[in-house]
Every structure is written in C-alpha cells, then in structure tokens.
C-alpha cells in the first residue's frame, strides 16, 4: 500500500519561486502550480496591483508532508497571506513520488 498525500499550498504569488524551491529540497519530487485569486483573513486578493495568489499542489510522503508544513509554518505563516492543507490520495506508479 502507498501513503501519499496531496499537499495544497495557497500563498501570495511573490512567494511562488521560494516555496517551489523549498518543497523540492524537502523531499517532494515535483509540484503543480496555477494562479488563483481568493479571500481570507488578509482580505481580498484578486488583482495584480495588490497581488494575487499561487496554488501549489504536491504529492508527497507523510514525512515530507510534515516536514514541509513545519517549514512553512515557521517561515511564512504568521507574516504572509497563506494556507495549507492535505489529504491522502491514491496514485499510479507510487515510486514516481518517492
């Protein structure tokens, strides 16, 4: 059986490059990104002047997932508009992600 999670990070787009770099360093084998807009505690983020959000999805093992979440929480959470959540997923070719 495989223990993989889909970890989704939604954050200010200015952080895209660094987050993408960091999740790879922490064990993710890849990621998928797309531009999104949204609303949350930091208010509405839906235009290029004030900045929009990036949605980064990565399929990772439980360990990497914990590691990445810990890192994000420490480095970004209390200073940037950002959320993260995860849930288990079934994949084909598990080894692709480990």
């Amino acid at each position: 059986m495989n223990n993989l999670n889909l970890l989704t990070i939604i954050a200010e787009e200015v952080l895209a490059a660094s987050i993408e770099k960091e999740i790879l360093e922490m064990g993710a084998k890849g990621y998928t990104s797309s531009a999104v807009s949204g609303k949350g505690l930091h208010g509405l983020r839906d235009n290029q002047w004030e900045g929009e959000n990036i949605k980064i999805e990565t399929i990772v093992s439980d360990d990497s997932c914990k590691k990445i979440l810990g890192h994000l929480q420490h480095k970004y959470f209390d200073r940037y508009a950002m959320i993260a959540f995860y849930h288990p997923v079934n994949v084909v070719r598990t080894n692709h992600f480990l």
Binding site: V14, N47, W49
Partner: protein, 320 residues
C-alpha cells in the same frame, strides 16, 4: 489648463474610479495589465535612450546627480517623519520611505503627456532619471528597517546584496534600463523601426492603463479609513513638498521648466510596481494596506488629477 484636466488619460482614470464605485463588472484580464506594464516600461525606456543618445554629457550629469540625491534623501526624512509624527513601527515606516523615495513610471508618463498637451518642451532624456531613481530608495528603505530593528523572531534575513540583485533583475528596472541602453544604441534607423509601436500609440495605451489604474484606485478608496487622516494628509502634502524641492533643484541643475517640473513629479510620485513586491519579500512585517493605500489610493490619483497642473503652476513661480 482645462485641456490638461480634460485629457483622455485623466478622464479614463476617473471613469475607472467611477466604474469601481458603481461595482461594474469591468475587469482587465491579468495578462492585459501585465502586457500594458511591459509595453509602457519598454516604450519609456526606448524613447528615453534614443533621446539620451542625442544629448550631450554636460546636459545630463547635473540633473542625474540631483535625481540620485533626491531618491537617496527622500526616504530618510520620510522614515523619520513616519516614526515621529506618524507613530508607525519600524517596518511600516521603512516601507513607506521606500515607496515615496522610489518613482512611478505611469505618473511620469502622464507628466510627459501633460507637457506634450500644453506644448511645453522638456529634456528628452528624462526617462533616464526615472530609471536611476527607482531602486536606490527601496534599498535605503529596507536598510533603515534592518538598522533600526533586529530580524523579528531572530530569523535569517535575505541578504541585502541578494535584494539589490533581485531589484536590478526585477522586470521594471530590467526593462527600463535595458531598453534605455537599446534605445541609446539603435540610433535613428532603429528608432524609426519601432516608433510606430512604442511611440505613436503611446498616449492611447496610457489611457487604457489609467482606466485600469482607476478601477483599482477606486476600490482602495474604501481602505482609506484604515490609513487614517494622517496617511491622507501625508499622501498629499509630502508629494507637493517633494515636487517643490525637485523643481527647485531641477532648475539649479539647468533643466528647462518642463524638465524641472517632470523631475519634481518624479520626486513626488510613489512606486507601486517595484517597491511593493520588494517590501513584501524584505519587509513582510510591514502592512501593505498602509503603503499600497497611500501610494495607489491617495498620492497616485492626486498627482494624476491635481498634482500635474499644480506643479506646473509652482514651476512657473520658481522659474520667474
């Protein structure tokens, strides 16, 4: 004078504000905004570089010194005032210093259009001043924050050199400086090849951009409360002060009345492309709703609609 207030650019900006107040569904696609930004930066740089190639060093060096001087000192007193009078904490004061020390390419473009409309000549190399004034102030702002406050939770900060690199490689300075050089090198033949795209329709594109700018400024008007009376006063009075200083020094540096006014406008304008991005990364503790609101919803509209004619009148006084 009226022709300057009734210009398509100003009216388009007003329409944008109205549109957002009446909750219109009008929205510019993100990629249109990004494309217009790229166009404006290239067009400004290219033309500035071409004109620069026609200028002599002796005309340029004094205004350049003044420009550098302005964008290095403005952040200092801005920071000081924000801390004392504004009671802002270190990061927010530093962020505001960075924004008001830096410059706005669109306000600059509107100023050129304003002078063209009134047929007032100005030095063609002014865009090089714009390019020079963009980055230093942002670095100084960030530096001020680092000197005056240790990193929040004793965290490793982005080294200043890295920030400087990112700013120089940032799209706005890269396009401005890059095309300044290109415009400088290509000469008449090259300029004639691209003028039909980057010069002839420029004011029309600017009109389009100001419509979009109005849409956003209009929405942020609701955030003025957050900023409070002090920020409103600051966002209007400081630009006027900077404009006066800029015009005065511009005259000393031997600029024409047109050129001096434009230098004043550069001093008075606040950045909203390079500065916000840099501050978000380097000064995350600074609250964007302060610097964005004052730059976008107060200073920018004021400069576009009332500032330009006002500074022009002031320039007349200073030059006589």
């Amino acid at each position: 004078m009226l022709t300057s207030i009734l210009s398509p650019m100003v009216l388009a900006f007003l329409l944008g504000i109205i549109a957002s107040r009446v909750k219109s569904d009008l929205k510019f696609p993100d990629s249109l905004y990004q494309s217009l930004t790229i166009y404006l930066l290239i067009a400004i740089g290219m033309k500035g570089g071409y004109k620069l190639s026609l200028a002599t060093f002796s005309e340029v060096w004094q205004p350049s010194l003044v420009a550098i001087g302005l964008c290095c000192t403005i952040p200092l007193w801005t920071y000081w005032l924000m801390r004392r009078a504004g009671k802002f904490d270190v990061p927010n004061a530093a962020a505001l210093a960075a924004h008001y020390g830096s410059v706005s390419a669109v306000t600059f473009s509107a100023a050129l259009a304003f002078h063209d409309t009134l047929k007032i000549p100005y030095e063609g190399f002014m865009p090089s001043m714009l390019a020079m004034m963009e980055i230093p102030a942002i670095l100084i702002g960030i530096l001020l924050a680092r000197i005056n406050a240790p990193s929040p939770n004793g965290e490793t900060q982005v080294p200043l050199k890295e920030i400087a690199r990112e700013l120089l490689a940032g799209k706005s300075s890269l396009l401005l400086i890059g095309f300044l050089i290109i415009g400088f090198l290509v000469g008449n033949t090259g300029w004639d090849q691209v003028a039909p795209l980057f010069d002839v329709p420029f004011k029309g594109v600017l009109t389009l951009f100001l419509l979009e700018a109005g849409l956003v400024a209009g929405r942020k008007l609701s955030d003025l409360r957050k900023g409070g009376a002090f920020l409103i006063g600051f966002g209007i009075l400081f630009p006027i002060l900077h404009a006066i200083i800029g015009i005065y020094l511009g005259r000393l540096a031997g600029l024409s009345i047109g050129g001096a006014t434009i230098l004043g406008i550069l001093a008075s304008s606040a950045s909203y492309i390079a500065a916000p991005a840099a501050c978000r990364v380097a000064l995350p503790e600074a609250n964007p709703s302060y610097y964005l609101t004052s730059a976008l919803a107060i200073t920018f509209p004021f400069n576009i609609m009332l500032g330009l004619p006002l500074y022009h009148e002031i320039a007349k006084l200073i030059f006589n």
